[in-house]
């Protein structure tokens, strides 16, 4: 078996919420005992609804946050608790693409300076060399070198996302964490960016951690998928397995809720009752039991453990075989 590029082991992250000076301290349980591995060259996706902890997980891997418990290994090295100085050389291996292409580019910098900035930190290239590399990258992502002279506001959303991608590519990373890279874009532009991401993966041997709420996008781009709910992974499976044979009731509901652009196909939606429980006050037992249509007494009392039920197919449900 080949070695995993990233492996996340039982990671927990909570954020304190202060409600007044004398109030009891409360915590938002953002990530709850999450474990997964990403193999080199694959696209691993985290899907889930807002507030399920997918972005927090991405930030933990990128060392933008430190976990409260658990370990994060990158290329055989434990990185969750190393210092900023030790992390700096690794930053060129792990790059991030953000959701909001408007907010993640400095409006006062020219595009060529934005893309070239990582080179300034990670290499000793001269100005001329940097510019040459930047021009090359602009072409790679489908912009022209002349665009380098412009400022971010002169670009459309799709073009800005391309700039974000070029910036992530400058230092030849191994892992790219793409946090909802296409959700702010229109469908026709979204398709362009997704195709670009796939092409780059082939050309540069990249590994992606793809974070998204859109199950159809995730299906197109991923090799393996983990479905998150309330800070925990409820089901992990290879793409085909997850879509053809979902075992967790939440995954089923999620898949059935996605509107399909085909008016001929009338399917039965599984409508989940109610809203997400608050993450400051997690339910006892199975985290999903408050909304689960198959909930039993056991679910209310006992938290299910992760069980492997097929090749690479892991489910956290008491009744994974009986549904």
């Amino acid at each position: 078996m080949s070695e995993a590029l990233v492996s996340v082991k039982n990671v927990v992250k909570t954020f304190p919420v202060n409600k007044g000076l004398f109030a009891k301290k409360k915590f938002v349980h953002a990530v709850n005992d999450v474990s997964f591995e990403i193999m080199p060259g694959e696209t691993f996706s985290l899907v889930g609804e807002s507030g399920c902890g997918k972005s927090t997980t991405g930030r933990l891997i990128d060392h933008l946050l430190t976990p409260d418990a658990g370990e994060i290994w990158f290329e055989g090295k434990e990185i969750s608790r190393i210092s900023q100085n030790e992390m700096r050389p690794l930053r060129s291996d792990i790059q991030m693409i953000f959701q909001d292409p408007y907010g993640s580019l400095n409006p006062r910098m020219k595009v060529q300076d934005l893309i070239g900035e990582p080179l300034l930190i990670h290499t000793n290239m001269s100005g001329g060399e940097r510019l040459k590399k930047v021009h090359g990258l602009l072409e790679v992502v489908g912009l022209s070198p002349a665009h380098g002279e412009r400022y971010p506001h002169e670009f459309s959303g799709g073009q800005r996302q391309r700039i974000g991608i070029a910036r992530a590519l400058t230092v030849n990373p191994k892992l790219i964490i793409a946090d909802e890279p296409v959700s702010a874009l229109d469908v026709s532009i979204q398709a362009q960016v997704l195709n670009l991401l796939q092409k780059l993966q082939k050309d540069y041997d990249l590994t992606y951690l793809f974070i998204s709420h859109d199950l159809s996008v995730v299906e197109m781009i991923s090799d393996r998928i983990a479905v998150m709910y309330l800070g925990t992974i409820v089901e992990t499976a290879p793409k085909r397995e997850l879509y053809s044979n979902p075992r967790h009731p939440y995954t089923r509901a999620l898949l059935s809720a996605v509107p399909v652009p085909d008016p001929g196909r009338k399917k039965k939606r599984i409508i989940l009752e109610g809203d997400l429980p608050s993450t400051t006050n997690l339910p006892d037992g199975c985290l999903f039991h408050t909304r689960c249509p198959y909930c039993t007494d056991k679910c209310r009392k006992e938290r299910p453990m992760a069980r492997t039920i097929g090749e690479g197919h892991i489910v956290k449900c008491h009744y994974n075989n009986k549904m």
């Binding site: 609804e49 879509y243 999620l254 809720a257 652009p261 008016p263």
Partner: protein
């Protein structure tokens, strides 16, 4: 033949930008029948929301104007009546649900007061009767504990709950037409499914006409009976939903449908439309889609095609020169 509830004719809306006027909505015409859901689709900036705001006359007069057209509801032109009469129409005849439920509710007012405000404005009933009506509408939209919700402030509710409150508010005076401007875009898929179900139920029970504005073709396919596709402020195609997905005629509609990732299709790459939407101020001369169209011909760049009916009843329309010629893919544009 079902009767027409709303008829928009030749609507043209302009905005002031740097001392000149740019046209955001250009000669848009469509109609909605009772009990029908009409989808209005397009990408951001194509004028879908401006169309709905023009119908409701909610655009600021300082920097925008509706320069042409008619908006007929029950054979009355909303663009001709005065402000006071318009207030009577909003809520009573046409109600609107906005995209961001959190931002559309007044944060300093309890839900109960916001709901009864609208009811009291349009009906001559006592406060108590209005309160019980508010309770009823909240119950109807599937809120588990209406009494609790009536007493809470918007920030205490989740996004899905807020959207339910918005729908309850819109439905409280039993309008004939409901305009839903991206009602589920800010919501998660499982909550979206709940809200869509609710809108369908309302339509069935009350025979309300719904104008559903969205960019999500999946939502359109599941909800609408007819669809109008807009691009750059113009209608490019109109068709019953089934035909639109089976045989889209306009190259833009085709591209749009192809570029949506479909669940369970096992695709690994997507066909995409090159380029991006043109700026309102610097529109191409001929067909507005020509610079991105793979079938573009000489005439497309020179002359804008007109929106032509492709059947006798006029319910199917398309704006493209290709209707008259065989299409040939042009590789180098």
């Amino acid at each position: 033949m079902s009767e027409k509830l709303l008829e928009v004719k030749n609507l043209r809306t302009e905005f002031k930008r740097d001392k000149s006027w740019v046209t955001a909505v250009n000669h848009v015409s469509f109609s909605i029948n009772r009990g029908e859901i009409l989808g209005l689709v397009g990408e951001s900036g194509c004028g879908k929301s401006v169309t709905s705001l023009s119908i409701m006359r909610l655009l600021a007069t300082r920097n925008s104007k509706i320069s042409e057209g008619e908006v007929l509801i029950n054979s009355r032109d909303l663009l001709q009546i005065n402000k006071k009469a318009m207030c009577k129409v909003r809520g009573r005849e046409i109600a609107m649900i906005f995209q961001e439920p959190m931002n559309s509710l007044n944060p300093c007012m309890r839900i109960g007061r916001q709901l009864t405000e609208a009811i009291l404005l349009h009906n001559e009933i006592s406060k108590e009767a209005a309160a019980s009506r508010a309770y009823d509408v909240l119950k109807a939209v599937g809120i588990p504990e209406p009494n609790m919700t009536l007493k809470s402030y918007p920030h205490q509710l989740s996004g899905g709950m807020c959207q339910r409150v918005m729908i309850a508010m819109a439905m409280s005076c039993e309008p004939e037409l409901l305009i839903a401007d991206e009602p589920t875009t800010a919501l998660d898929v499982t909550i979206q499914a709940q809200i869509l179900e609710l809108m369908e139920e309302i339509r069935e029970k009350r025979n309300t006409g719904i104008l559903l504005i969205t960019h999500d073709l999946g939502v359109v396919a599941e909800m609408c009976s007819r669809v109008v596709v807009m691009y750059a402020g113009r209608i490019v195609e109109e068709k019953p939903v089934k035909e639109l997905f089976e045989c889209p005629q306009h190259p833009y509609t085709q591209g749009l449908i192809e570029s949506v990732p479909k669940l369970g299709s096992n695709m690994t790459s997507l066909p995409s439309i090159p380029g991006s939407v043109p700026d309102l101020a610097v529109m191409p001369k001929g067909c507005k889609f020509a610079p991105r169209c793979k079938f573009a011909m000489e005439i497309c760049r020179e002359q804008e095609p007109s929106l032509e009916a492709t059947d006798e009843t006029g319910t199917r329309r398309c704006r493209c020169h290709l209707l008259h010629t065989d299409r040939q893919e042009v590789t180098s544009v």
